[in-house]
Symmetry: C2
Subunit: 198 residues, 2 copies
């Protein structure tokens, strides 16, 4: 299977963990947060800006942010958030050209033309339980609102840059609920599906 | 795995074929069109009416149909289409109570509380190719509009009776695109996923 694999995921559903295990199983590279510093390096823009705009569009909440143009770009009409999306997209395409890999988030499913695209999600109560077991520093009561906030940002970001509906099955090749079978159960199903990809 | 498995499907995506093969692999019963005569028998309403309203709500196109009450029911205020949905739902629940089985369509994913729910879909061009290879009597040029018509009916029916969005990944446990890996590739992925269900 020579294609890149992209993973879109609800926050707390285990999408990143699935990606790590999938890349290990297939012996191919894995990219998630790594894309931030790679894109910063590629574009010569500060990594701080990438962290700020990573899968996030602050201007949806505050229209003034739309006017925060980059002082680092000669095309100063392009908002910082769009420049960052474009820089990440260039890096994603470059990585996929180098060979099969697993890429999490950042609309990689729509940036790439020939990828196999996965979507991972779970019921809210399962995601709260999972996150509370992973992050001991966060108030368990506040976890649900944190999950909803991150999901909303990912959804807005995806819909703004792709024009497609986040979480609509037809946008992906395989969508898996992780609460019923766990991340390892999802991994087995993904590997079985990929076996039949030409 | 003691649960019923439901299959929602885009027309022409191979959902029925997947269901047949899945039931064979697991050695459990398969129900699709069979539900029509079973529900007719259970409710003492004519099978013709079930055929007419099966996964279809004509009254959306013609509001007068909403007033086509059943002469066979004592609760004559309930429209025929709703009576038929209710009769099918009773049969679906009865079958699932008898043991694991595969049920295609008819909102079974929402009728049952403890089922594993699959959604099967494919790109239009793959569905046209598939249907043209199966149904030699249909004008290939008209196939696309036929597919869109059947999908629209299934979508309206699902949304009317469940209040949920047809094809939204989060409504199902596993959603599979069948064009990339074929029905047999989907079958392998489903069996791998089911292995991890408690």
């Amino acid at each position: 299977m020579e294609r890149a694999i992209t993973i879109s995921r609800e926050f707390g559903s285990g999408g990143r963990e699935l990606g790590v295990k999938l890349a290990e199983s297939l012996g191919i590279p894995f990219y998630d947060k790594e894309l931030i510093s790679m894109a910063a390096e590629e574009s010569d823009m500060p990594e701080d800006a990438f962290l700020h705009y990573d899968e996030n569009m602050p201007f949806i909440k505050d229209p003034l942010d739309r006017h925060f143009y980059s002082p680092f770009s000669s095309i100063y009409q392009v908002p910082m958030s769009d420049q960052i999306f474009l820089a990440q997209s260039r890096v994603i395409r470059k990585l996929a050209d180098q060979g099969p890999c697993v890429i999490v988030g950042r609309c990689a499913d729509m940036v790439l033309e020939n990828s196999v695209n996965l979507f991972i999600y779970a019921r809210m109560k399962d995601r709260i339980r999972r996150m509370n077991s992973l992050e001991t520093g966060v108030d368990p009561v506040k976890m649900e609102s944190r999950i909803r906030e991150v999901d909303r940002k990912r959804k807005d970001y995806y819909q703004y840059y792709t024009g497609n509906e986040w979480g609509k099955a037809q946008n992906y090749h395989l969508s898996l609920e992780s609460g019923l079978v766990g991340v390892d159960g999802c991994l087995k199903a993904v590997l079985a599906y990929l076996e039949s990809v030409q």
